[in-house]
């Protein structure tokens, strides 16, 4: 009896089949609908821990406090994105200010990014780096900039348009050929006398 049991245990079993069977048995008990109901809700232990991943939108003050602590912010400063189903979760809504605006003389931990270690990053941080979008105060007013840009562009386009209507180029005439407008080369009869073509006026 004992030998037959151990022999049975040593028989190879298809773990993929076992996994599929268990998944199929657990399927009716799942909560989600659609694709969310088919996927497993568990994460691998090799992934990030619960306090580093994005959480759901905080509804109670305790959740807000916990989220603020997670993101190293004061509870008063913490403001999540409005819950409109856009996928932000509890990520904080930081002011849309580019890294250009930060103090260039302060000793940042990462000077090129003008950011300290552990500081909450803007959702669009990769847009606001110093090579890209700049939100620092402009030197000129908006109206002034618009006037200059559209004024010059408009003038250029206007001049192009006028140039199309009134073309200006060196005066040219149709090309004149010798030998009675190349009578023989154009297949004229060598016996017949061609009519005289005078391409000049003296």
């Amino acid at each position: 009896m004992r030998t037959s049991q151990s022999v049975r245990q040593q028989q190879p079993v298809n773990m993929a089949g076992v996994g599929f069977l268990r998944w199929a048995q657990a399927l009716p008990k799942r909560k989600g609908s659609g694709i969310a109901g088919l996927l497993s809700g568990a994460r691998a232990a090799s992934g990030p821990s619960k306090d580093t991943i994005l959480g759901p939108f905080p509804t109670t003050p305790e959740e807000r406090a916990a989220a603020a602590k997670k993101y190293n912010m004061k509870v008063e400063d913490y403001e999540p994105y409005p819950d409109k189903g856009e996928g932000f979760g509890d990520y904080p809504k930081l002011p849309d200010r580019s890294q250009h605006e930060r103090d260039p003389w302060y000793q940042w931990d990462h000077p090129d990014l003008r950011r300290n270690w552990g500081e909450p990053m803007h959702w669009d941080f990769d847009m606001f780096i110093r090579n890209r979008v700049d939100t620092s105060p402009t030197l000129l007013s908006w109206s002034s900039m618009c006037k200059q840009l559209f004024g010059s562009l408009g003038f250029i386009l206007l001049m192009f348009y006028l140039g199309e209507i009134f073309p200006f180029y060196q005066a040219v005439a149709p090309k004149q050929y010798p030998y009675n407008n190349l009578y023989l080369e154009r297949g004229g009869d060598p016996e017949k006398q061609p009519e005289e073509v005078k391409n000049y006026v003296i």
Partner: protein
């Protein structure tokens, strides 16, 4: 015999009188920042007005958080036994957040509209545009009306 004539309007007029400002100068109340750009800190009224003890305390709390993070970073940075990179949990959270918005996605009017506008409409529109253009060209070729010059670019 200089008579001081006090114009009544000058006593009641606000400082935004153009007599005191040349054409280029703007005062803080008149400054209008460009859309999506920020205001210079020297022209920000909250720096000058509404300064209270609460604001001071809030700034100190923020500085305390910042100092704590700096201490953590410097400790790890200058640790002589450290061989690996210093991990930044804020960076991990940001990367994870950007890569995994799906659990928090909900089909609403706005998200469905965006999905349709950027995902479905270009496909359909481009299909119809290309199809009609090529069918028209094919019909012209069959009828012999298309001018087919020898030209390397179409």
């Amino acid at each position: 015999m200089v008579t001081l004539s006090r114009r009544k309007s000058s006593t009641t007029r606000y400082f935004t009188s153009s007599r005191f400002l040349s054409r280029r100068q703007t005062i803080m109340a008149d400054y209008q920042e460009a859309p999506l750009a920020s205001r210079p800190k020297t022209l920000d009224p909250s720096e000058y007005f509404n300064l209270s003890a609460e604001k001071r305390r809030a700034d100190e709390d923020r500085a305390a958080i910042r100092a704590n993070l700096k201490r953590q970073y410097q400790t790890q940075l200058n640790d002589p036994h450290r061989k690996a990179l210093v991990d930044d949990p804020a960076l991990t959270r940001w990367v994870y957040a950007r890569a995994n918005p799906y659990p928090f996605f909900r089909p609403t009017f706005k998200t469905s509209l965006l999905g349709a506008m950027f995902g479905v409409v270009p496909l359909v529109v481009l299909y119809y545009v290309f199809k009609t253009d090529r069918d028209r060209k094919e019909a012209m070729i069959k009828a012999g009306t298309l001018e087919r010059k020898f030209c390397l670019s179409s």
